[in-house]
Structure formats: C-alpha cells, structure tokens
Amino acid sequence: MEWFDNGWGLSLVVFLPLVGALALLAVPKKDEETAKWLALFTAIASLFFGVVAAFRFDYGDAGALQLGTKLSWIPSIGSDYEIGLDGISLPMLVLSAAIVVLAIVYSWDHWPEPHNPKGFLILILFLATGMAGTFVAQDLVLFFIFFELVLLPMYFMIGIWGDKSKVKLPGFNREVETRLYASIKFFLFTLFGSAFMLLGFLALGLKADTFSIPELADLGASGAFTGTFAFLVFGALFLGFAVKVPMWPLHTWLPDAHTAAPTVGSVLLAAILLKLGSYGFIRIAIPILPDEAKSWAPAIAILAVIAIIYGSLACLAQTDMKRLIAFSSVGHMGFVMLGIATLTPVGITAAVIGMVAHGVITGMLFFLAGSMQHRYHTREMARLGGNLKLMPILGGMLGFTAMASLGLPGLAGFWGEFMALLGSYQPLEGLSLGVFRTSMVIGAIGTVLTAGYLLWMLQKVNLGEPKAEWDDHEFHDVDKYEMAAWVPLLIAIVAIGVFPKIVTGAANDAVQVLMDKAFF
C-alpha cells in the first residue's frame, strides 16, 4: 500500500470521477444504461479509495498532513501539485465522495427534464472531482483550480435541468426564467468572490514566495503577514469564501440557485459546495492570517448571527418548500461561521461537524423536497398537506430529517449548533466577550426560530388532511432507488448524532494542532 500513501490514493479519489466523465463522453447518448453504470462505478471506486484513505489515515497524528504528495506542477510560478489529508479534510472528503454516489443512485430513475442522463452524469462527475480536489489541495493555486472547477457543472446543471417556470424579479418590471436567472446569478456571484480571493492568494504567494498552504500557515503563525497587506488579503479571501458559504448579506444567490436547481443539484450544492467556503476559512484564511482573523472575528460573528436570525425569519415567510430549505441553509451556515469566528478549537471543531451534519441533513431535505416535487409537481406549501397520510414513509423521513435539521440533540445537527454556541461563550483570548456572548444568546434564540419554521413547514406539508385536489391522484411512496440513496443518509444522521466521534475523532486533533500553531 506504499503507492496508496504516496498521494496516489488521494489522486485516485479526486480524479477517478474525471476519468469517468471523460469515458462517458465516448458513450453513445442513447445507451443510458452503460452511462449510468459507468458513472456509478467510477463514483463508487472513488468512494472506495476515499474509505481506504480513511482506514490508512493515522488518527493518532490527525493534525499532520497524510497520504499526500508534492510534485512539481507549475514551477514558473512556484506552484506544486501538493495534496494531503488531515483530520479536517478527511470527513469532508469522504462525505463528498459518498454524496456523489448517492446522487447518482438517486438519479437512476429520477432524471430531470430535459432528460439526457449522459450529460447530467458527466456534470456530476466533474463536480465530484472539483469537490474532492478542493478538500485535498494543499497548494493555493491548486485549491483555486478545484474551487472554481465546481462552478461550470453547477451552472449547467441549474441552467439546463433547472426550474423552467418564470419568476418576476422583485422591484423590477420583468419576468425571467428561474433557471436562467438563478444559474447566472450563482455563477457571477461566486466568480466575483473568487476573483478577489485569487488576488488574495496571489498576494500571499508573492509575499511568501510559496503557494504551499502548510508553508504559508507556518509563516503566518510566525507573524510574516501584518499590517495593511494582511488586512487587504484577508478581506479578499473573506469575499471569496463568504460568497460561497454564503454569509449574510452575500447570500441572495443561494435561495434562487437552490430553488431552481434540479434535485441532485440542490443536494450537491447544499451538501458540499457551500462547505467549500467555510472549509476555506478553516484551511486557509485563519491559519495563514491568524492576527487578521482575530480582528475580523467579531465582524464574522455578528454577520453569522444575523444570518441565523435573518435566515430563520425569512424561512417563516416562504411559501415555496425548496426555498424554505434553502433559506434554512443560510441560518445553519450561520452557526458554522459562528463556530469559526470563535477561533477556538471547540468552535472550529463544531464548525467541522456542523458542516458534515448540514451536508447530510440538508442534502437529505433537498432529496425529499425534490421527490415531493416530482410527485406533486408543485412546491407550494399551501397546496401540500397531509403528505404523511399520502406517503407515510416519505413523510416520516421528512419529519425525521426536519427534526435533525432543527438541531435535535441525539441527531447530527445538534453538535455543530450547541458547540458553536459553547465556543462563543468563551472565544479566543483577546476577542470581545461582549460581542461573542451576545452572539451566543442570539444564536440560542435562533435555535427556537429554527425549530419554529421547521415545525411550521412540517405542519403545512406533512400534517393535516390532504387537499382535495389530490383526491384522484395515485401516489407511490418511496421507491427503491430513493431508498438506496436515502437510507445511508438517515443512518449517517443518527450515527453522527449518537457518536460524533465519527467526525471529531479526526477533526478535533487536527483543529487543535491548527489552532495551536496559529494562536499559541
């Protein structure tokens, strides 16, 4: 297994889907079965190597980069193919590989219009490479490439397979097709952030004469970046990551993108893509610019709690189920960012588990919302109701997942929220206690609002008597593909809730090492 540990393993995880995507190009469009099996096979192979990586990983030394390699890539600019895995990236890597498999399984029989499974699968596999690559990249340029790689597939996914209804833009006297508006908005917003992020990366690389993230983190810890330079660079990185998270008030692309995206697109977007931003904060912004992180932390915390409250309240006003779930992401990612803003091991470990949990839970919610839309052909909550009666299993899963989403203790969502609040009671020394403790209290109030809108959603959608318009409809409950895609997620929700060590076992030590280096 020497070869595996020398970076080959991780490279396989990252690039197998890409190989699969290229191979798919050669498959005739009509031959859907081959396309599906090929895609599934490569995704599973990628996941398999991801799992092998998890087994090869030395948990006793989770703070160190493992299974990685460093090969010369673009020597002219001093950028290398440097990859590696530590306790923070490990759970994210496995999660992303797993979600991709589930997405393909789910798609098996649920192709959004226009059909074209081949194209759809190619995009999913491209996304897989981008997502996995971002989590293993240890070089800023490489990170940037992977970070951007996810844009195109998601753009096409939303734009081609997205919601074809029209929407009137608020405040404008014009109608646009939802998918077109949402896809370009997503694309431009993200590119706007990442253009500045790239400037930040370059400034760092030039200053330090290296793009290697671990080396930069070492330099950053020794105080190499200070003053206006550091301020501007952090600002640039902040823009890039905050758009992706998304943090209030840069979040408005999210509800549109989620609402318009096909089910699998929403799932991947919620489960993994949003995490790229918060992961960027943990992996890059904070370790490399610890002092700036300190001075930005209160602002991040304030934005985070605004997002929590704002997202929750906005949810209460939604009439569209998918849009509600999308807004819930704003709130949940607020907790993740609050945890990050504390700059403490507790808070950041909370953020990591929060990311994983949100990925699993919200991914599941979007699966469910998608399947409901598939059956009811509407997302209007006013027209739904009594879903639990029409489809007991699906409704039960929806109820369960909503409970997980509201942070019910014992399920995955709890740890991220609670520990983020815990962290903000006692943030890193030197940070304003007033700001963070107020944030804690507001965040805690946010948990009530979160519970409020999710229960309200359940009441509207799941409970009550089905509306008369569905009387003559035949509804079939969860089918086998859905079952295959969902049960693993449900198990994960419980497993992480009952045994958070699944994530923290690796993440906590890694976060500890990261924080020790950055702040002590």
Binding site: S76, I77, I145, L149, L152, G159, L188, L191, L199, L206
Partner: protein, 493 residues
Amino acid sequence: MFDYHALAPDFIVAGTVLAVLGADLFLPAGRKWLSAVVGILGLTLALIPIATLAAGDEGVRAMLDGSYVIDDFALVLKVFFILTGYIVLLMSVAYIEEDRYYQGEYYFLLLASLLGGMVMASSRDLVTLFVGLELVSGPAFLLAGWRKADSRSNEAALKFFVIGVLSAAILVYGMSLVYGMTGSLTFEGIRAASASVAEEPVFVLGILLVLVGFGFKISAVPFHFWAPDTYEGAPTPVTAYLSVGSKAAGFVGVLLVTYVAFGGAPDIWGPTLWILAALSMVVGNLIALRQENIVRLLAYSSIAHAGFMLVPFAAAGLVEGASLNQAFEATVSYVLIYGIMNLGAFAVVIAAARRTGSGQIRDWAGLGSYAPGISILLTLFLFSLAGIPPLAGWYAKFVMFLAVLQDANGWTIVLAAIAAVNAVIALYYYARVVQSVWMDAPPEHINPEPEPTGVSPSLGLAFGMLAVAVVVVGVFPELIAQFAKAASLIAGG
C-alpha cells in the same frame, strides 16, 4: 555576416509565400486548395530550423549590428505566428473554397502577413519593426476586403485601411521624433540614449505617438473603433487572424519598444498604458454585454483582452524598480494563451455559423441540442476566454494578476481590482452565449438533422487541436510558462 541558419525560418516562409504564388499559376481552378497545402508544408518546414535553433546553445544570434536578432523571444514568437498561420490556413480552406474567389492570392497574402509578424519578432530597430509591421498590415487590409462582392467586406477593408495607415503615420512620426532625440534607430541605442533625454517633451511626445500607433494595432480603447466593424465585415478566418496574428504583432511591437527600447523611461509609458488598459477592459467588456452578433461580441471581447494584456505593462511601468521580466513573461503568456483560445473560438464560430446559418446569438438558441459537439467546443473556448479553470484562460489571467501584484502600489492594486471586476463582467456575456446555446429552446426553422456537408475536416482538425491545447495548457500551464519565461529574457537587458 548573415547567419543563414538563423534566418532559415524566415527564408523558408518567404519562399513559401513565393511558392504559393507560383503554384497558383499552375493549379487548375478546382484544385486551388492545393496552394493551402503548399502553405502548410512550408510552415511545417519552417519549424525545423526553429527547432534546431532552439536546441542549439549558441544563445543570441545577432545580425546587422543587432538590428535583426534570433533569440528565444524571437523563436517563441515565430513559432506562435507559424502555428497561428497553420490554424488559420486550416480554418480557411473550406471557407475560402466556398467563395470561389482567388484562393491562391488569399494564401499568398496570409502568409505574407505572417512573415511580417515573424520579422517583427526578430526586429531590434525601428526600421525593421516598422517594415515588419507594414508587412503584417498591408496584406491584412486586402484580406479584410476579400469578399469583393460583399459591400460589408469592402467597408471593413476600407475602415481598416484608413485607420491603419493613419495610425502607421502617427507611429512613424513618433519614431521620427524618438530618432531625433536619441540619434539612434536600434533599441539598444535608444535605450542607452534615453536617460539623457527622458525629460525632453519631444521625446515624450515621440514615445506617446509610438504607443498610439501600436494602440491601434492591438485595438486598445480609444483606438479600437475600427475593430468591431472590420471584424464583422471581414471573412471570419481573416477576423480570426486579425484578432490573433495581427494583434500579437502589435503586442510584439509594444513589448519591444516599451521594455527594450524605452525600458529606461517607464514613467512615461507606465501611466499611459495604465489608462489604456483600464479603458480597454472597462469599455470593451461593457460594450460586449450588449452585442447580439457573435463576431462583434468577440471583437469587443478581444478589445477587453487587449486591456488585460496591457495590465502587466502598466504595473511594471508604475512601480519604481519593478521587475520587467515578470511583466514581460505575463504578457507573453497571455498573448500565447489568448491566441490559442481566440483562434479556437473563431474556428468554432465558423462551424456554428455554418450550422445555424447566422451569426446572431439568438439564432444559436438550442444549438447544444442538435449540434452538441460544436456546442461543447464553443463552451470550452468561451469559458476559457472568461478565465474559468481548468481551461487555459485562467493561467493567462493568473499570471497577469501575479505580475500586477508582484511589486504593488496603490495604482496597480486599483488596476488589479478593475481587472478582477472586469473578469466577472466578461463572464456574463460569454455565459449568455453559452446560455443561448445550451439552455434556450431551438427556433422552429432549424433543421435538427446534421447537414450532409457538416464540419470540414480541416476546420475540425483546427479546432480539435486547439481544444486539446486549451485543456492541456489549462491543466499544465507550465508548457506555456516555459516559453514565456524563455522569451522574457530579453527584457532584463
């Protein structure tokens, strides 16, 4: 005195020009396309001495008192022009054949123009540079008006011509002033003398007029007005050539005069180019947002790209003691990558326009559903132009930003921010084309079955190679970086 080995590439191309002209005399009307084959063979042949020159370790080979030089920069650019010519030839074959005009002359003119570019790459004095530039431009004027019966093509040619000669006059007037102040025509001489006259208004005026002259060639704002009209009116392969070969020639000129000849006076050209860069990016991109015609859109996009390419110059000129090498390298990288992706874009545009029978973006709606291959390639090239990783364009933007931030001050950071915002704006209009192609429903009248003619093999070969190049360079940009690095050595002198 003459190093025939060093001159071999230029001689071979020159010979090819003549051979094409000669071949045209003997070829029967139906087989005129064979002159393209002759051209392609000649260009391929020219690569051989370039390879041996590059492999040799004799370093710089200078002739005519350093007026004509074969160094890494010259070799890299010669290869670039040859490859550009190669691709444009491939693009042209089917296109020109359909029009039944004088094919032989077409290839002759094209190759002659290319030869001008190759001469420019080697030129190290003002005379050679000017002659090279005119050799690039002259045939190009005629090429722009190639479709003689089409008044749009005529108009394109005339506009191009009038503005071209006017700018040439301005350029050469500027050169005369520079000569007058420094007493030298060679870049080295000018550089050596420039220190003592740097404050002289006439010298400054001379430099500015030279820049204005080149500003036309690279179609920088506000010297860009001819470009959209000419691009739209000229035959598309010619447009491709103009937007890449001719523009690259202009950049060769700018690189040589600013970094080599006026290397001692960056405080004169720095601010000037800052303004040109900023204006080109902003105006080019903003206007491109409103274009309905794909060629016009690409014209404005190429104006904006000229702005991006100027950014490293401006930065290098504005920061005291900045490394010119870095900026030089960045611009060369950008030019090379831009060449690949823009040629690719035009090649696909030819194919797509044939398929849809229109150059209007809205008529391309739904192209992805009935011509997925063309659409995928179009998407590839357009997003590469937008700078989306992992397509080659990202590296061009990357090194551009890298050069700006290398030695940063307030002005350069502002420029970098303008460039960053423009990168986002640019995405919008590229994405709009992509949206039309993939996401909009095809219009009723389109025949979804492939036409019997389809994409000609030569055109397919052209964009196939370019597509591979766009992806490979995007993933392994070191390929380009090495060339750019080698080429940048002359800036350090």
